[in-house]
């Protein structure tokens, strides 16, 4: 018995599906942002699993994970600023009421 690549990938897949469910169904805009963080974490777990099991000598997966961390930090800052701005304009955080771009 050993920690295998498949376990990591299965857990990451489950986390990704949870994140997608939250992304689509939640109505609070902040929770949508949290779901995006879950998605990014699932991708990170995939990268780390590949880095450890397929490429243990040149750990390029970890380098990619650090880049994803950077992008996630930038995305969280800008996303929360957008939520604050739209909350000031519409006075709500309900995703159903953000229909400015609805055709």
């Amino acid at each position: 018995m050993h920690v295998q690549l498949q376990y990591c990938l299965l857990i990451a897949a489950a986390l990704f599906c949870t994140g997608i469910y939250g992304l689509i169904t939640s109505r609070n805009a902040v929770r949508v942002l949290m779901s995006i963080e879950l998605l990014l974490n699932a991708v990170n777990l995939n990268l780390m699993g590949f880095s450890n099991f397929l490429d243990p000598t040149r750990i390029k997966g970890q380098v990619f994970t650090v880049f994803v961390l950077t992008v996630a930090a930038a995305e969280a800052a800008v996303g929360l600023a957008i939520i604050l701005a739209i909350y000031r304009n519409r006075d709500t955080v309900d995703m159903e009421k953000f229909n400015l771009l609805k055709w």
């Binding site: 299965l10 897949a13 997608i20 169904t25 974490n41 450890n52 961390l69 930038a74 909350y87 309900d94």
Partner: protein, 205 residues
Amino acid sequence: MNIAEGVQIVSFGILGTTMLAAALGVVLLSNIVYSAFLLGGVFVSMAGIYLLLNADFVAAAQILIYVGAINVLILFAIMLVNKQEDFSAVPKRWIRNGATAIVCFGLFALLGTMVLITPWSIAPATAVAVQDTVVEIGKHFFSDYLLPFELASVLLLMAMVGAIILARRDFIPEQLGVQQTALTLPEQPRESSAGSIASDEMPSS
């Protein structure tokens, strides 16, 4: 990693179970403050899994950036938009939720099947894992990933400026004759004459 196999597998199971339960809590709980704290639990469990995967530097970076920065930022956002509102019921919403759940289960089944039937080219056990990951990652950063590394700094700068611009309120100059005390904020919301919320935030004159 020189931990016994049994210890590894048990701690991996505990961390994975904790992470998935916390992720479900993030998505399903109705109180968003609980969701934010459970998100921190997800991040910490993820850092533990990284440690099991021989990645100490990335585990530390995960704790620092995700738990220390992003989670705190989300908590601040929850405080700033903290408005108890009962979301109005949308007709046929359960159909949407059910369809999304079915699609997510299908996606998970697809991904699981793909993971299990793909013959991964696992590295041979003789390949020694990198012991000093910080040195190795630093070598990658300053040789073959130098351009993305520098671009990341520009990206962070742009995100910082963009977040400030987006979240800033419009500056309305003070009317003449109003005393500016030291403790009042030199800004006013845009609808300072109309909204009732805005009237609370007007500087006391």
